[in-house]
Amino acid sequence: MGDALDIKPDSILDVKGLCCPMPVVKAKKAIDSLESGQIMEIIGTDAGSKGDIPAWAKRAGHEFLGSTEEEGGEVFHFFVKKG
C-alpha cells in the first residue's frame, strides 16, 4: 500500500462511492468480459475493499497484483489479473 505500482491495466472499473457488497459484485461482472491474463484496475473509496478485493480475487481464481492508496487515504486502486 502506498507505493506507486507500475502496472498498465487493460480496463478500469470505477466503484467510487459504493460500499459492500457492490465493489466485489461489480468487479466480478467486469472481469467476466476480460480475457485471461488481462489486468483490471478497480478504483474505489470503500475501505473494506482493501480486504474484500484480494479475498475475492483469490476465491474467484484471479491474481491480486497489489494496490495503491491516493494521498489522504480515501481513494484506493486495486490491480487484479484475470485467471
Binding site: 462511492g17 460500499c19 459492500c20 457492490m22 466480478k28 461482472k29 479475498a55 475475492w56 476465491r59
Partner: protein
C-alpha cells in the same frame, strides 16, 4: 464438500434483510454457490407485496440510534420514523435497496427458496412470492443442500 454457502433468512425487518442478501451476492461474485432459505418472517424479503417496504422498529431495539427515549418507540409513527432514518442512512451510503439486492442475487445465480411450511401457516399465496424465487421447499430439501455446503448461517 462444495464451495457453497447455505443461509437461512428468518427475520423480516429491514435491518435483518440486508445480511443474507449481502453475503449471498458476495459469495456468488466469489464463484461460490449460494442459496437462501426464507422462512417465517424472512419470507417477507421475497414477498412482492412487502419486500420494497420492510420496516425496522425502534421499540425494544436499543441499538437503533433514535433521537427520543427508547420507550417512546411504542408511539404511533415511531416505526415509520425509524424506517425512514434507516433508509436514509442506506441511501447516503449508496447501499442498494432490498429489491435491487434481490435482483443482483438472482442475476448471479443465488438460489432463493420460499419455505413451504411458512406459505401454508401464514396463508401466503405462491403468487405473492417474487418470480426470481425457486419452487418452495421444506426443511429436508434445504438441509440436503446445506449438508454439502462449507458454510451455513442462520440469520
Amino acid at each position: 464438500m462444495a464451495n457453497r454457502i447455505a443461509i437461512i433468512a428468518s427475520k423480516g425487518t429491514l435491518d435483518m434483510a440486508y445480511p443474507p442478501l449481502i453475503l449471498a451476492s458476495t459469495a456468488a461474485a466469489m464463484d461460490m454457490e449460494a442459496g437462501i432459505f426464507f422462512t417465517f418472517y424472512g419470507l417477507n424479503i421475497i414477498n412482492k407485496k412487502k419486500y420494497a417496504n420492510l420496516k425496522v422498529a425502534p421499540i425494544a431495539n436499543p441499538a437503533m440510534p433514535m433521537p427520543v427515549p427508547n420507550i417512546l418507540g411504542m408511539l404511533p409513527g415511531m416505526t415509520a420514523m425509524a424506517t425512514k432514518m434507516m433508509k436514509g442512512m442506506m441511501e447516503k451510503g449508496n447501499m442498494p435497496s432490498i429489491p435491487d439486492l434481490i435482483e443482483i442475487c438472482a442475476e448471479s445465480g443465488v438460489k432463493l427458496w420460499p419455505c413451504q411450511m411458512t406459505l401454508d401457516v401464514m396463508s401466503i399465496s405462491p403468487e405473492d412470492i417474487i418470480d426470481e424465487a425457486e419452487k418452495s421447499c421444506g426443511a429436508g430439501a434445504f438441509l440436503d443442500y446445506a449438508a454439502e455446503a462449507s458454510m451455513s448461517l442462520f440469520i
